[in-house]
Subunit: 312 residues, 2 copies
């Protein structure tokens, strides 16, 4: 069995050596133009030239949860895309979202300004009942985030394509319930995959529906920059309709140094690090899936196999 590794913007060597250790029988190399066709590939943003070489490819293993960068590729008919399935990412997402939520809800930024000036002042505590949190996307990541938020006694709404029963989470299903979901949510957390339906979902028209149309909504985007219509955000913040945003993903990454998001007082920017790929966990997961496939298990029995029609 031959496995090839093609990682744009990532150092391939530790992946190659880790996969070799996990799959001792396999022939595992970093891809170069002219490499022989492989049975499986481990990739991050591979070029079409890579795919064009891979006529025998069965599994195309992405080292992230979002596979939008792969969906534009022309694949051989037998090739299936497999995304990471948690692999240590869901707990990082839960951490990141809870941190941003608590920081906003408890007004820790305002307290910090006072503290740096040496002032001991109180703000009136806010009621968590007034801060319902809406989670868009209830997959492996969204479910974990929803449970973590619910544990802090915030009301939690979850929006999903198909019904999902999660303790403590009010489920809104499908496009027809989207407006009700937005109206019932004050803090909006985006964990959706990018598909033609979800691209630009964080746009003015929808953001105005948050919190029953009242001011004070807050946006946390940890999915993809393509979900947010970037030009719509700052006018809503400056008008006071939205109270703030924590953004980890952007249309263009790295976010250009002169982008207004970096220094806007109501926006917190992080460099696409809400959930980093953990190499050891990811290698173990991908190796396990390759072993299963090679022992005769079908793709349909593996978690994380992408439905090309659905787009994730």
């Amino acid at each position: 069995m031959r496995i090839t590794v093609c990682l744009t913007d990532n150092r391939p060597d530790p992946w190659v050596s880790g996969l070799r250790a996990a799959l001792p029988g396999a022939d595992i190399e970093n891809w170069e133009p002219g490499s022989p066709p492989a049975d499986h590939a481990v990739v991050w943003m591979p070029p079409q030239a890579f795919i064009d070489d891979q006529l025998a490819l069965r599994g195309l293993f992405n080292i992230g949860a979002g596979v939008d960068a792969l969906l534009g590729l022309k694949l051989p008919p037998q090739t299936r895309i497999v995304r990471l399935d948690d692999a240590g990412m869901s707990v990082q997402m839960a951490e990141y979202v809870c941190h941003a939520l608590i920081r906003h809800f408890r007004e820790f930024d305002a307290y910090e300004v006072e503290a740096r000036a040496g002032r001991w002042t109180f703000r009136k505590p806010r009621s968590r009942g007034d801060f319902p949190v809406g989670i868009m996307g209830l997959g492996v990541l969204g479910e974990r985030v929803a449970k973590a938020v619910a544990q802090f006694d915030f009301p939690v709404n979850g929006w999903s394509r198909t019904p999902k029963a999660i303790d403590g989470v009010r489920n809104f299903v499908g496009a027809e319930s989207f407006d009700d979901f937005l109206a019932a949510s004050r803090v909006l957390v985006c964990l959706l995959p990018v598909t033609p339906e979800t691209r630009g979902v964080l746009r003015c028209e929808n953001l105005l529906k948050l919190n029953g149309g009242k001011p004070g909504g807050y946006v946390i985007n940890v999915a993809r920059g393509a979900h947010l219509v970037e030009d719509d955000l700052i006018p809503l913040l400056d008008a006071g309709q939205l109270a703030g945003a924590t953004l980890d993903v952007f249309e263009q990454e790295p976010l250009p140094g002169d982008h207004p998001y970096w220094r806007h007082p109501k926006i917190n920017v992080t460099p696409h690090g809400s959930a980093r790929t953990l190499r050891d966990e990811s290698i173990a997961q991908i190796a396990g899936k390759i072993r299963a496939l090679e022992s005769g298990v079908g793709f349909d029995a593996l978690p994380g196999v992408v439905d090309a029609g659905r787009g994730y």
Copy 2:
């Protein structure tokens, strides 16, 4: 039945009117010198002159969880001190501690410095296995904090006077296990009551034992300022032995404007707000306990009754 309210540093009127609404048969007034003796009192830092008037007092209800300010008072022999039992405080503590922990673990402060300069840079992710969290005190507040931290997959140690079985928490019991508890913990969270045994527990000698004696320990104090030997902290931070501290409580409150904690780059100060008393929840809880006592229930059947010998 007569109830008197004596709240230093708090507006008494909403407490008086709230208690009147919750206990319609009772005679409830704000205390003034010369007021007639009451059956129960609702207090925050009452002066000894107040207690001297209260010869018939049965229940002395504190509007906080920490009763250290009451233990120096000379009480009539039949009077029992009752502290708040959660009343909406444990979720606030869990929020505050998880926020401080995640902020430190994920290095969000360092990311923010880069972000404000418009720089997209990564730091190597740290392993949560390297950040065991030690919770000192496993009462109502400590248990909730421990569970919240465990949910983010950090190793959690809990130190308590008596054994406590909490899922996901390694329990260290009593003075003889204290050094082992410190050695096994990197982030130390203080939720202890102030007693002669716990006063000054956060002192150089003990803080040096954190993290097996290796540098990198972190202190979160949400209990009382008396737990921390204030002069010991900054030298440990400046030497690099401790990585930082988040402090909500201080020997002198308000913390003086010229205190070095306010502006130290490794210290985050908040003004004793980690868990604010929620008036409605507290009134409902105190009124419920008074109703129970008046219907013949004994103090020993109520949660939150202070054991004067134990000190909490």
